[in-house]
Amino acid sequence: MTKRWYRAPAAALVIAAVAATPALAQKKYGPGVTDTEIKIGQTNPYSGNASSYASNGRTEAAYFRMINDQGGINGRKINFISLDDGYSPPKTVEQIRKLVEQENVLLVYAPLGTPPNTAIHQYMNAKKVPQLFVATGATKWGDPKHFPWTMGWQPSYQTEARIYAKYLLESKPDAKVAILYQNDDYGKDYVKGFKDGLGDKAAKMIVAEASYESTDPTVDSQIVTLKSSGADVFFDVTIPKFAAQAIRKAYDIGWHPLHLLNNVANSVGAALKPAGLEKAVGIISTTYYKDPSDAQWHGDQDYKDWVAFMQKYNKDSDPADNNTVLAYARAFTLVQVLKQCGDDLTRENVMKQAANLKDLRVPMLLPGILINTSPTDFFPIEQMQLEKFDGKAWVLIGKVLGS
């Protein structure tokens, strides 16, 4: 018996040593990190045709200012460098190279736009720099096998389009569909997802397609064409300005189809109000976040926090612009990833933690929608919910869809 007196203290010593190891662990820093600072880079269109997305970068900069005011992440302040690329891929390449090679940022966060991100896709993976939470819904960002350093954030456009297709097949299988889409990667991605979702019924169901350029003054002519095709379902893939025009024109010429409006364009303040709320009754869309111009959320703590943030830190941006909500939620996700990194702030660990988000609740996302990632699942948000506009607000219908 007395021979084993040392076992307990020995075990205690071992346990204590193991427990103390993290405290003794080396702080591991990648480029752009010091004891007091984390450098993060971004490209965003602050000029040119796509300058309406400038609010993304501005809101994110404001959010990081707020985090810094609250003490930073594990004691380190965020140094956020956001450069203008004017939505022009050559400029994006130039600015990203500056951020990676000259500014030595730890990671590039939420670069915006599919062509800009395509231009830097190979470079980021070759240089092994995280291209994290890219601000576009193209499906190709969730491919960890070939591009382990790139991850999206929002539900992919094709996922959303398939939800509409499924809804249609279930509720109106003999529908005749007319599609209006923006003639770029954004619009075409939706159309592809929609057609895939309809399967072999696509050719029979889709009776008309019309596109427009984001530089066109109006889409009135396209609406007239679509009406004359005799369609009774209108799949509308636009941005708020053109959605407003489409809703108004369709109403004015006496066309009242089942109107499926995509998520990017469904803001109450930016699209429905200018068109006229009474003209938007019955529109179906999907969402994964709380529309701040929708009164049903105004009692929520989430909303109140967001309003306080907008008023204190982000006065330059328009509260009716839904980009501010998305940027806010996305920035929260990044802060969560960095918090999870602790003192191991290497690029490898950043990607590892980004691929390690389990049931994360993000403010301003719908109740029931949680972020989940894993080494084989690089789609953080995959859930959406259908909603219908009743003339005053979006009413959620059904349940949260998607895995």
Binding site: Y46, S47, G48, N49, S82, L83, D84, G86, Y87, S88, P89, P90, V93, E94, R97, K98, E101, Q102, T114, P115, T118, A119, H121, Q122, Y123, N183, D184, D185, K188, E213, T215, D316
Partner: protein, 340 residues
């Protein structure tokens, strides 16, 4: 007789002075070339990349200057030829596995033909109307590139990704440095060709057409052929530039070639200096680097700063940087010609 008489001595002196000036200028150019070659080894990879783009723009601006500065035909649509050159390089490299250096002459030739064909109907248009026609070309280009029936070739809205070429013969330099040197070599070649072209008979014919088209016609210059050929050659230069730019950026997409690119080219040509070869270099440096400077100055409204720069440049140097340099140089004390 000869060198002892008053006029004879003056001519001989002028000849010597001219020879001395040419020798100085030649030495200056050689020094500049040496500095240009050494540059990528002295600055970071990122700056070498920026300078490569600036060189490509310089070639494009030289082409546009030939058409607008020397020949007086305003083009707001050279972005289209830049795009054609870029896509030719991309398609040949990705779909047909051509080596990058072989795509340059093809890009140039295709644009030569395209420019000539566009120049033919453009003969009937003057000034503003030509500007509109070329502006229409610039606006239509992204739409054409996105056209679904051409998608198999152009990659549609997704664009085409190009692999960066490696330095040949296993030279111990980085890819960026090699690309810069390659682009520099092509640029020097194009500049020398342009210099010879514009200094000779053809250049004088082109300028004559700009200044006095009717007199030129009377002198036996076939205006139609010269104007169309000038359009073609200027498109050739811009196409070569587009190919070089595409290889440097490693990506082409319709959004890269919008109206603003064509407008930037015009800005570059005027700010650099119309009807001047060195103007192309000044202009290229302006359109490559000034937007970045403006961005540094103001995040809220960077293009407002750029606009202010533009207006200020035009006030201070209405004939462009090259014009300013020329008039400043003429006022240097040792250049004053003795009177009487």
């Amino acid at each position: 007789m000869s060198a002892t008489s008053e006029p004879g001595r003056a001519i001989a002196a002028a000849g010597e002075a001219g020879a001395a000036r040419r020798a100085w200028r030649g030495a200056g150019l050689a020094l500049l070339l040496l500095a240009a070659v050494l540059l990528p080894f002295l600055v970071s990879s990122y700056h070498a990349f920026q300078l490569t783009l600036a060189l490509a723009y310089a070639i494009a601006l030289l082409g546009l200057n030939m058409l607008t500065g020397y020949n007086g035909q305003i083009s707001l649509g050279h972005g289209a030829f830049y795009a054609i050159g870029a896509y030719i390089a991309a398609i040949l490299m990705t779909q047909f596995d051509w080596p990058y250096w072989a795509t340059i002459p093809v890009a140039g030739l295709v644009c030569l033909v395209a420019g000539f064909l566009f120049g033919l109907p453009a003969l009937r248009l003057e000034g503003l109307y030509l500007a509109l026609a070329t502006f229409a070309l610039a606006v239509a280009t992204p739409q054409l590139l996105k056209y679904k029936h051409l998608e198999d070739w152009t990659g549609g809205v997704q664009g085409i990704v190009i692999t960066k070429p490696d330095p040949p013969f296993g030279l111990p330099i980085s890819q960026d440095q090699w690309l810069y040197l390659f682009t520099l070599a092509v640029a020097v070649l194009m500049f020398v060709l342009a210099h010879n072209l514009l200094r000779g008979r053809i250049g004088r014919a082109i300028v004559a057409i700009r200044d006095h088209p009717i007199a030129a016609e009377t002198m036996g210059i076939d205006n139609a052929i010269y104007k169309s050929l000038t359009f073609g050659v200027s498109a050739l230069y811009t196409g070569v530039a587009g190919a070089l730019g595409a290889i440097a950026v490693q990506f082409v997409a319709p959004d890269s070639f919008n109206v603003f690119l064509s407008i930037s080219f015009l800005v570059g040509v005027v700010v650099g200096g119309l009807a001047s070869i060195s103007g192309a270099v000044y202009g290229a440096l302006f359109i490559q680097f000034v937007p970045n400077i403006a961005d540094d100055i103001s995040k809220a409204a960077p293009w407002a700063i750029y606009g202010v720069f533009l207006i200020a440049c035009m006030y201070l140097m209405p004939r462009g940087v090259a014009g300013f340099v020329q008039s400043a140089a003429a006022r240097l004390p040792w250049r004053e010609t003795k009177k009487g």
